[in-house]
């Protein structure tokens, strides 16, 4: 039992960095990355409405000082934008599979 306490403390310390609350800098970095990906999707004319709305959610949360939520939303927006870029790229050829011949 005595041994278990320091072990638990070590474990808690080890996990601490991962559980750190996001700050404004984290949000700004995540938002900038999401915005860049969204711009690329737009240039391919394959933007998703959900990317735009998730970016807006991130901004709103940041304006309210909730950087945890803002950073999470910005990361989600980036993932959505990346998925739309993948769609645009793969569909350059994949559309032919659907064609009536």
């Amino acid at each position: 039992m005595k041994r278990a306490i320091p072990l638990a403390m070590l474990l808690a310390l080890g996990l601490a960095p991962a559980a750190r609350a996001a700050n404004e800098a984290d949000y700004k970095a995540a938002y900038a990355a999401a915005e860049a990906a969204a711009k690329e999707a737009a240039s391919l004319r394959h933007q998703w409405t959900t990317t735009i709305s998730t970016l807006a959610t991130a901004k709103k949360a940041a304006d309210g000082g909730d950087f945890d939520r803002a950073t999470a939303a910005a990361k989600e927006a980036k993932a959505l934008a990346k998925a739309s870029i993948f769609q645009a790229t793969s569909e350059k050829e994949a559309w032919k599979a659907m064609e009536i011949r």
């Binding site: 394959h46 933007q47 998703w48 769609q87 645009a88």
Partner: protein, 287 residues
């Protein structure tokens, strides 16, 4: 030795023949052939729905469902697009400030010509839709253009479609590589998946016509533009072709393009061309 040689020669000849056949196929697949595309497109729907009369495809979901068709036929006695039609007729006849009218901008005074739109303008090198031609007419006569997604444009096109009812769609593709490219671009747009839902136009209107998507019955792609513009009960109002494309995009969670973007013009060109021979039925009414 001689047997081995003949075997080798035979194998080489077979390989050459196979190569020649494959390359011919690749070339054929890459060549833009609107006539073959239109034939394949129509055959697909005629075979998929052998009981639907060919000219009925232009009636969208009503061609797919008997109950819905009966309701629509009753509704047609007092059609919901009638107000738009009256407004369009009046707008069409009202002179601009300079005294000219829409009739001055179109062949045959704009009457009975819907089936020829969109067309490929060889001077400009791009597709011109009826909605675009109407706004160009307004601008050429010193009037502000109308919104492509609102009632005024829908009323004007409703009237022009009405004067062309029953006329077979008659879209030409001139022998111009730019026209063929526009057709091909429209085809690509039609089949390309977009939006978070990962839907293409074809996902609904080729793979699933007659099926329900939530409460709606999906219309076949064949003849879908022949009924434009449409009154949609869902919108409680009229919708132009532009509005229909924009809405379709939003429904798949894709950010719509600007109305009359090249892609929209091209997809209208493609859809209209493959519907050649089918009658104009616009303005339509949809649930």
């Amino acid at each position: 030795m001689r047997a081995r040689l003949s075997l080798l020669l035979g194998a080489i000849s077979a390989a050459l023949v196979a190569f020649a056949l494959t390359s011919a196929h690749v070339v054929a697949a890459d060549k833009v052939d609107p006539v073959a595309d239109a034939k394949a497109f129509q055959n697909f729907f005629f075979q998929k729905f052998p009981n639907v009369k060919h000219e009925d495809f232009v009636n969208g979901p009503y061609s797919m469902n008997e109950d819905l068709k009966r309701q629509w036929q009753e509704k047609e006695e007092f059609p919901p697009y009638e107000f738009a039609l009256d407004a369009g007729k009046e707008m069409f006849a009202t002179p601009f400030k300079n005294g000219k009218t829409y009739a001055d901008c179109f062949p045959n005074g704009g009457i009975g010509i819907r089936q020829n739109y969109p067309y490929f303008d060889e001077k400009e090198g791009r597709v011109v839709t009826l909605e675009l031609a109407l706004n160009r007419c307004r601008e050429a006569n010193g009037e502000a253009p109308y919104s492509y997604v609102k009632d005024e444009m829908a009323s004007l096109t409703a009237y022009m479609a009405f004067t062309s009812r029953g006329k077979p769609m008659d879209i030409k593709i001139p022998d111009d590589p730019r026209a063929l490219a526009a057709f091909e671009n429209g085809k690509r747009y039609f089949y390309t998946r977009r939006g978070q839902m990962n839907f293409s136009c074809a996902s609904c209107h080729v793979q699933s016509p007659g099926e329900r998507i939530r409460a709606e019955i999906l219309a076949p792609a064949l003849g879908i533009v022949n009924a434009m513009p449409i009154y949609r009960s869902e919108w409680s109002g009229m919708g132009t072709t532009s509005r229909r494309f924009v809405t379709c995009n939003s429904q798949t969670r894709a950010v719509p393009l600007e109305p009359q973007a090249d892609e929209y013009r091209d997809v209208e060109y493609f859809l209209s061309y493959v519907a050649n021979g089918l009658p104009i039925s616009g303005p339509g009414a949809r649930p």
